[in-house]
Amino acid sequence: MTTDRADEQAPLLRVEDLAVRLPTGRREMVDAVRAVSLTVRRGERVGIVGESGSGKSVTGRAIAGLLPENPRVRVTGSIRFDGVEHVGAPARAWQQVRAHRVGMIFQDPLTFLNPTMRVGRQVREAIPRRRGEPVEQEVLRCLALAGLTNVEEVVLRFPHELSGGMRQRVLVAIAIAKRPELIIADEPTTALDATVQQRVLQTLDETVTTLDTALVLISHDLAVVAGMTDRLYVMWGGRVVEAGPTAEVMSHPKHPYTQALLRSVLSLVDEEVELYSIPPAFRDWLRDEGAAVSFIDEAVR
């Protein structure tokens, strides 16, 4: 492999000016993502935060080529893995990307697991055939890496027989089964309660470190992203409004939206302050001109 050379030349993933239009009705289209640029280097952890409808999930799906196969879905811009352009690539190329390079972890573990298939088989099917060693061992190893105990038992279970946290760990196991270079975790813990959420995040953290996998963590929850990522992209209205090292963005937010977002988190910690929510007038301002103002750390680019 030309990993070293590729590392110098091109990052693992480089997205430039990505725009996605999705059909919302017979005629109407919505610009779910407009001009998003982001970079993920090998082994790096990148967070994407933003509220519902900010375009973060659509961005994540676009990176994996998982947008609906509808001729009215328009993807423009550039998505490059190791410098190879994938926008407009044939479905086959995308399928190769998903089979070998990118693993996805979704929000709701129950709906994202096949209810009629035992957990062991679901993990096994995600393991590429070319690996030489016995697949059964590999299945158990993936489940153990995802933080599950008693794995010999778990492989025989159906998804509905597991708890929410365990299901989410199974999804992690499936995502890492192919030893991907990049894991895209789209709201991986939103469906879990707070304590389980912490544990699953911790496991995800450890797994990504052990396997030296790059991670794109998509969440509406700043607290989740802050603790786990090196760099942070803040999205609003389909745009990246602020980007930079996570610590930097958290301590010195530049964009008013980021500041507002941070305030609504901090107010939860401090009992004195009332829960802050973004005032409607501010939303209107954002819609009209705020989102156009981007504060993207040039060092990031």
Partner: protein, 310 residues
């Protein structure tokens, strides 16, 4: 094994140890046992399953093994229209043949047709309905039109024509019934596939980089099975009934009459020989009912999440 109640401090310590333990452990949903068979076990735990299976096994055994112990179904060895008695359990027909032997033999054709047609319909329905529903678009349009074409073919007329062209044997009847009955199954599979195609685990499978046909095979079709199983068992019943109608119209091998054919020839003797219509009719009724009930029960058990979601 101390009887003394643990002190609050001990309880607290134990609770903390439990919390400090590795986060997940398997909480068995039911104690012990091998889980490989849990789905089928639920099915085989129900007493009704054994009743239906027993009835069907009895009918199959009687039809395929029974004739060896019964009399000659074609020899006109007895008096005509003898009512059921201790010697001749089902009496004799209008030509003086042992009716028990004839009814037993009739089951061979009826059961063969019912099961073969159901299996063929299910296979065709899964393949065509699955492809149409999962891929959608042009494939869907074409396959739906094909299905509609076959659905509007009048089975009886087609069967009469085919019987004239290819001869009246079981294979012809099975083929004719299958090609007119598969669209019903295909439509169900298509609707289910369209629904499932939208679900998370299909997206999950796509995200894992599986090819479309593999997703169809291992994610979509298995999850479409519950209604398909019901439709298939209904098909067994319907095929037996339509075959009866065909026999009634005279299509079929007259040397190997099915239950339907027996019913047909009994119609002239309803007043003089009630048993001629009663027994084949009862056989059809019992088999169709048992198969449908079994399918319904199978549907409930085979869906791993029905009634078990916490």
């Amino acid at each position: 094994m101390s009887d003394a109640a643990p002190s609050p401090a001990e309880v607290l310590a134990a609770a903390e140890r439990a919390l400090a333990a590795p986060p997940t452990g398997v909480a068995p949903t039911r104690p012990g046992g091998r889980r490989r068979t849990s789905l089928w076990r639920a099915f085989f735990r129900k007493p009704s399953t054994y009743i239906y299976l027993g009835i069907l096994a009895l009918m199959v055994l009687a039809s395929f093994v029974g004739p060896a112990f019964a009399g000659d179904p074609v020899a006109t060895a007895y008096q005509k229209l003898l009512p059921p008695s201790g010697e001749l359990l089902l009496g004799t027909d209008h030509l003086g043949r042992d009716y028990l032997a004839r009814v037993l033999q009739g089951g061979q054709v009826s059961l063969l047709v019912g099961v073969s047609v159901a299996v063929l319909c299910m296979t065709l329905g899964l393949v065509i309905g699955g492809l149409a529903g999962f891929f959608g678009g042009f494939a869907d349009i074409v396959l739906v039109r094909v299905a509609e074409f076959f659905q509007v073919l009048p089975a009886l007329v087609l069967a009469l024509v085919s019987a004239a062209l290819f001869g009246a044997n079981e294979v012809v009847i099975i083929v004719i019934l299958s090609i007119t009955m598969w669209p019903a199954v295909a439509r169900i599979v298509r609707a289910e596939s369209m629904r499932i195609e939208q679900l998370g685990y299909v997206e999950s499978a796509r995200a894992a980089g599986f090819r479309a046909l593999r997703i169809l095979w291992s994610d979509v079709l298995p999850n479409a099975m519950p209604p398909v199983i019901v439709a298939t068992t209904m098909t067994v019943g319907r095929a037996i009934l339509v075959e009866s109608a065909l026999s009634y119209l005279g299509v079929g091998d007259s040397n190997r009459p099915s239950w339907g054919a027996l019913l047909n020839s009994a119609q002239g003797y309803l007043t003089t020989g009630w048993w001629l219509a009663l027994f084949p009719g009862l056989c059809i009724f019992v088999v169709v009912l048992a198969v449908n009930m079994l399918g319904d029960s199978l549907n409930d058990s085979l869906n791993p999440s029905i009634g078990k979601v916490k």
